[in-house]
């Protein structure tokens, strides 16, 4: 099957992720959506690497995973501390600062 379809899939996933970030309230979910976007990127990378016939894309995919993992560490730490303070993980509750 034509690998380009994987690209479309990647684009689709990316869009889903982005949409999720825009519409979901729960910080965790929002964060998951970001991860989804990253994975979409990975998919794209792998596909392109396949198309180009070089390994760069695949290597990058691994890097991306590592970075994502790091993000998780930091992100969860922040979100958890916020949750413990406010007893809510809603992104919208955290809006002290505005205007």
């Amino acid at each position: 099957m034509n690998p380009v379809n994987y690209l479309y899939l990647a684009a689709l996933l990316f869009t889903i992720g982005a949409t999720g970030v825009l519409i979901r309230r729960n910080a965790i979910v929002v964060f998951m959506c970001v991860e989804l976007m990253l994975n979409a990127c990975n998919l794209a990378f792998v596909t392109f690497s396949r198309l180009h016939g070089n390994l760069d894309g695949q290597v990058i995919a691994f890097f991306t995973m590592v970075v994502a993992a790091a993000e998780v560490v930091v992100g969860l730490a922040i979100i958890v501390s916020l949750f413990r303070t406010r007893h809510s993980a809603s992104v919208d509750d955290a809006s002290l600062m505005k205007l």
């Binding site: 982005a18 970030v21 825009l22 309230r25 992104v91 955290a94 809006s95 505005k98 205007l99």
Partner: protein, 631 residues
């Protein structure tokens, strides 16, 4: 010899500086210092006069160049004095009469604690006036011109605590400023036309200039003259100027400053001769004013205002004469000099009367004063005879000549002008007789004022009467002295030039006519104020009378049109400046503020809406980039 000219001005100027800067420590001697220095100037004048007489007519012009005043590329103004017969005449008049009035003031201002300052101002005036008549170019003349304006401002408003005085002073200065505007524009016009504004070059190149330009210059000079000499339409300030101390009225607003306009016109003879239209306007202005002043003079009960009206009218005669051109110039000046004598004398007399009557000026509260203050009565009387042109006295000669010249203008103009002059003579006779009668004849009409102080009319001290006597002598013999053998004519001719007009009517006839007018005027006055007693309160009087009392509504006109209009204009402009000009700027600022307030709301604190803006931004970015490639 010409080195002395500067001294003429320097002496009184020094006096002014010393007296004004000197401070209180000079209070005791101040007035004598002032008088001394003005007399010194007079002496120098006489000295120079003698020198001039010693020369033959062609070489009677002395030039003294002091320094280059304003040297700018293509523009040269020097401080140079020119002493010729014309300015000599004025120098003697100014310093002579001036010194007398200084002397008079020593007595008159005795009880004023600011007497030193008064003399300072008087000296300042003398200096400025001398500068005016001695200047060799119009710009320097302009300095003197405004200088006398300043002095007059200071002296009219000398009693500043009186709001009326302060207002009158301001008014005088402003009205004069309008005239000065004319003078300065005239100077500019000369500069663009002749590339200079010194007498020599300008008069020398008159033939090179178009008549249009010359007419313009002439009219502008006339405007200046109107301001300074209180000619219609700029005459309104003179009446109010009487708020000043009487010596001031005598010196500045009768004898000297107000005649500066006549000097200007005669001095600019060359220009006017080449601009007949301008001359015609001059004569018209003169005629109108001589009637205007005379009429106003008839209605005033304030002795000084009446005399002011008469001054206006007499200067009208001079301007008329000056407007007639070579046939009139000499007589304009001659009348100017004689008028200097008798009008100054009259004012001093009036001052003396007021001095005796606790500064009362309303003639209806006088009456029968001749037995209380004989000297004043006699000197005043002689002045009176002189001004109405009683045969043999100075007014008779000078005014007669002017009327002749007016007729000599020829044609209908001649008849009109001459006729008007005659009528003027009649009215003059009337109002002067009125003044005379109301003041010195009839029974006494003064009552104790509100705090019961009955005025005790008394003769003034010597220091005041002597000047009056001297002036009276002058006003008696001056005219005769000048006219017999045409002394004055011969003296002045080289400067002003002279031509005998051919009058349609002979001199004799005119004299008779004048006499007739004189008799009529005096007669009517006698009928009104001599035979029956004068009412202590003015009767309502005819429409004309009432109008005349209000200076023929001239002030009302000014008030409505200029003052009110001006106030509205400025007020609305202040509003405009605040709302419009400022508003635009503040509005812009406010606009940005509002915009900021609105944009600020986008920052609503919700992370997700930030994400939306990012997402949208990204979309736009992508779209734009693609678009760029597309187009």
């Amino acid at each position: 010899m010409e080195k002395l000219i500067a001294l003429l001005i320097a002496a009184p100027l020094l006096g002014a500086v010393v007296l004004l800067v000197g401070g209180r420590r000079l209070d005791r001697v101040g007035h004598w210092v002032g008088t001394l220095l003005s007399t010194a100037s007079f002496v120098v004048g006489v000295f120079l006069f003698a020198d001039l007489l010693g020369r033959n007519a062609e070489h009677r012009t002395l030039i003294q160049h002091l320094w280059t005043w304003i040297p700018v590329e293509g523009f040269q103004a020097d401080v140079t004095f020119r002493l010729d017969q014309l300015s000599m005449t004025f120098v003697l008049l100014i310093t002579g009469v001036g010194s007398l009035i200084h002397l008079y003031s020593v007595g008159y201002m005795e009880h004023d604690e600011r007497r030193r300052r008064f003399f300072g101002y008087l000296n300042l005036f003398l200096a400025a006036m001398l500068l005016l008549v001695l200047a060799d170019n119009y710009l320097l003349l302009y300095v003197g011109w405004e200088g006398v304006g300043l002095a007059s401002y200071l002296l009219i408003g000398f009693w500043q605590h009186k709001p009326s005085a302060a207002t009158a002073a301001k008014k005088a200065f402003l009205v004069n400023r309008v005239g000065d505007m004319g003078l300065s524009i005239a100077i500019m016009l000369m500069f663009t036309t002749f590339g200079s504004f010194a007498f020599g070059p300008v008069f020398g190149h008159v033939d090179g200039a178009t008549e249009g330009k010359l007419t313009a210059i002439g009219l502008l000079l006339l405007l200046a003259a109107c301001g300074k000499s209180a000619q219609v339409p700029l005459q309104s300030w003179l009446g109010d100027a009487m708020e000043g101390p009487t010596p001031v009225s005598a010196l500045i607003h009768a004898a000297t400053m107000v005649t500066a306009g006549v000097y200007l016109i005669v001095r600019s003879a060359a220009v006017f001769n080449a601009a007949p239209d301008a001359q015609l306007v001059v004569t018209v202005v003169g005629t109108v004013t001589l009637l205007f002043g005379a009429i106003v003079g008839c209605a005033k009960d304030d002795i000084k205002k009446a005399l002011a009206g008469s001054t206006m009218s007499q200067i009208g005669y001079m301007v008329l004469a000056a407007g007639l051109g070579p046939i009139g110039y000499v007589f304009a000046i001659m009348h100017l000099v004689t008028h200097g004598f008798f009008k100054a004398g009259l004012f001093l007399g009036a001052g003396s009367v007021m001095h005796g009557m606790n500064d009362e000026v309303d003639m209806r509260k006088f009456g029968g004063l001749r037995k209380y203050m004989p000297v004043t009565f006699i000197t005043f009387g002689l002045g009176y005879l002189a001004i109405i042109g009683f045969p043999g006295l100075s007014g008779f000669f000078s005014k007669d000549k002017i009327i002749e010249a007016a007729f000599a203008k020829g044609g209908t103009e001649g008849w009109i002008l001459g006729g008007a002059a005659l009528v003027g003579a009649a009215i003059t006779a009337f109002y002067m007789t009125r003044v005379m009668l109301m003041t010195f004849f009839g029974e006494k009409r003064w009552q104790p004022d509100e705090n019961g102080a009955e005025p005790h009319p008394h003769e003034s001290p010597k220091v005041m009467t002597i000047p009056m006597i001297v002036l009276a002598v002058g006003s008696v013999f001056g005219g005769a002295f000048f006219s017999i053998g045409d002394r004055f004519l011969k003296w002045l001719e080289p400067v002003t030039g002279h031509s005998e007009g051919h009058s349609p009517v002979s001199a004799g006839e005119i004299t008779i006519a004048t006499m007739a007018c004189l008799v009529i005027g005096v007669g009517i006055a006698w009928a009104q104020y001599g035979r029956r007693p004068v009412p202590a309160v003015a009767p309502r009087g005819s429409l004309l009378t009432r109008a005349a009392r209000r200076d023929l509504l001239q002030d009302d006109f000014n008030h409505v049109v200029l003052v009110r209009g001006g106030e509205h204009l400025t007020r609305s402009l202040v509003y405009v400046d605040h709302t419009l000009v400022d508003g635009v700027v503040n509005g812009t600022a406010a606009g940005f503020g509002g915009l900021s307030g609105r944009l600020r709301r986008l920052q609503n604190g919700f992370a997700r809406s930030y994400a939306v803006s990012m997402f949208g931004g990204a979309a736009l970015l992508v779209a734009a980039t693609l678009l760029m490639r597309a187009v």
